[in-house]
């Protein structure tokens, strides 16, 4: 490792997860923010930068900061979908490296399950969306299905190979008391689940839940005051390659090829040095494409890579150790939960699902319709 220890994650927390009827997105974020700051041992007054992403108001950062009683000297509402929070971690590290602030609070909250807000069809479509929306592709699942079809055609990837990911992820969820779906499933269960958008069936798809999360990022100086062991931000990278799925340059390659390369080069780590990886699993295909794009295997080799339950507990590639968006929770923009789990793994707090001796973690968020990726490499002392 070559990177300097400039900024660290010092506090993480979830809000209530699953179904939270009556709760607002602000309540969930306040709950998570308070818990994450308490874990770090920081007072609210020490927060001088606020990061969030959402679409609950015209300026989510301003509404949230006002609600929490914070007047930040730095604010960032970058919204690139589910990978926003990995990008926020990168932006926070960059700001801290430049001495702009010391303690950044990153939060997310969603009540999409209780709101039943997914899949509302707008009456009119403007700008570049008018060339896709009228055809009725359900988003995001339909877009990921298009990627899966193409990958299968190009490389012979099978539904069974995608199912390996869902089955392995459920095994991790069975070890996480906070996970929503904990009953073990089989490959056949995944194959015989009802089709949503072929080749993706129900168990290839993430959950739809409520929930919020918070991550506290501190400068090295501030991290020394924290109650927790620092989880250092060793490298970060981000990109987006398209907005609408029709304009994805290659349906089988995600931006993780670029964001992952940036993050790993900055951290100075090699693939084989990583102990645990947390990869956004909006759908099984998301994971498979990301593994290839990050370079854990070659193009087209993702299916073989995940076979024989390699990513399950006890396998040689521990991945999505909280049970993932597929089985733990998925409140719309899931990326913040990848960071929370990686930090806990590196602090050795994960009980029955703890990856032994986890020192280095890679987190990769994916947002939109395979549109954005942001990668973070984290490590402990």
């Amino acid at each position: 490792m070559k990177s300097e220890r400039i900024a660290a994650i010092v506090g993480v927390a979830e809000s209530d997860l699953g179904s939270t009827p009556g709760k607002t997105v602000l309540q969930l974020q306040a709950q998570a923010a308070k818990a994450a700051l308490e874990e770090a041992g920081f007072a609210r007054e020490e927060v001088d930068a606020v990061f969030t992403a959402g679409n609950w108001g015209w300026s989510p950062t301003m509404m949230l900061a006002e609600y929490l009683g914070i007047q930040p000297k730095y604010t960032d509402g970058t919204n690139i979908g589910g990978s926003s929070f990995e990008a926020h971690v990168g932006h926070a590290a960059a700001g801290i490296a430049n001495g702009l602030f010391d303690v950044a609070l990153i939060t997310y909250g969603s009540t999409q399950r209780s709101d039943r807000s997914r899949n509302r069809i707008p009456p009119a479509v403007t700008l570049t969306e008018q060339f896709e929306r009228p055809y009725g592709l359900p988003t995001p699942v339909g877009a990921y299905a298009l990627a899966a079809t193409r990958h299968m055609h190009q490389y012979g990837t099978t539904r069974e190979q995608l199912a390996e990911i869902a089955v392995a992820t459920r095994k991790w969820a069975a070890l996480n008391e906070k996970a929503m779906m904990r009953d073990l499933i089989t490959i056949d269960d995944v194959l015989s689940a009802r089709p949503i958008a072929e080749p993706l069936h129900l168990l290839d798809c993430c959950l739809v839940t409520d929930g919020g999360g918070a991550v506290v990022v501190a400068s090295a100086a501030a991290a020394r005051r924290a109650r927790t062991k620092p989880v250092w931000i060793l490298g970060h990278g981000e990109t987006h390659t398209h907005h609408s799925i029709t304009n994805m340059p290659d349906l089988t390659v995600t931006g993780a090829r670029e964001s992952g390369r940036q993050a790993m080069e900055m951290a100075g780590v090699r693939h084989e040095e990583l102990d645990v990886v947390e990869i956004y699993d909006s759908f099984t295909i998301t994971v498979l494409l990301t593994l290839e794009s990050l370079g854990f295997c070659g193009p087209g080799e993702g299916g073989a890579f995940v076979s024989s339950q390699r990513t399950a507990p006890g396998g040689d590639f521990p991945m999505n150790t909280n049970g993932g968006g597929l089985s733990y929770c998925h409140p719309g923009m899931y990326g913040i939960f990848l960071l929370i789990e990686a930090a806990r793994q590196l602090r050795g707090e994960c009980g029955p699902r703890q990856v032994p001796e986890a020192k280095l973690a890679l987190v990769n968020g994916t947002g939109g319709v395979l549109s954005s990726t942001a990668t973070v490499v984290l490590g402990r002392d």
């Binding site: 009119a124 008018q130 298009l146 055609h153 609408s244």
Partner: protein, 135 residues
Amino acid sequence: MSNGRPIPVRDGDSTPFWNGVDQHELRIQQCQACAAYVFYPRSICPHCFSDQLIWNVSSGRGRIYSYTVVHRSFGPFEQEAPFVVAIVELEEGVRMMTRIVGPASQVKVDAPVRVTYERVDDDLTLPYFQLEETR
């Protein structure tokens, strides 16, 4: 009257395209500077950044780049399922989203297709594609 299907809002970029569809003509842009074809329509070439774009009429022929059979959909599309949504790559090299009409079981990646025009309601015609073999 629309059945609740999202209606494209014609604008400074898209009006020539939708006017073409109304006349059963598939219009796509070509860059005068780099000769690349461009879809969706826009005011600047995404390849070379030239603002010299002209409209051409596509051959309407292409191949399926990828597709999905949609079984669960929402709102105005719920009753139409199952249906096939595809990305078609036109001979000119550009890709567009569309529906494939005809039997879903015959739809394959790389299958040749040809444009057809579907009047989906009183206010909206869309360019769909059909498999060449089924014509």
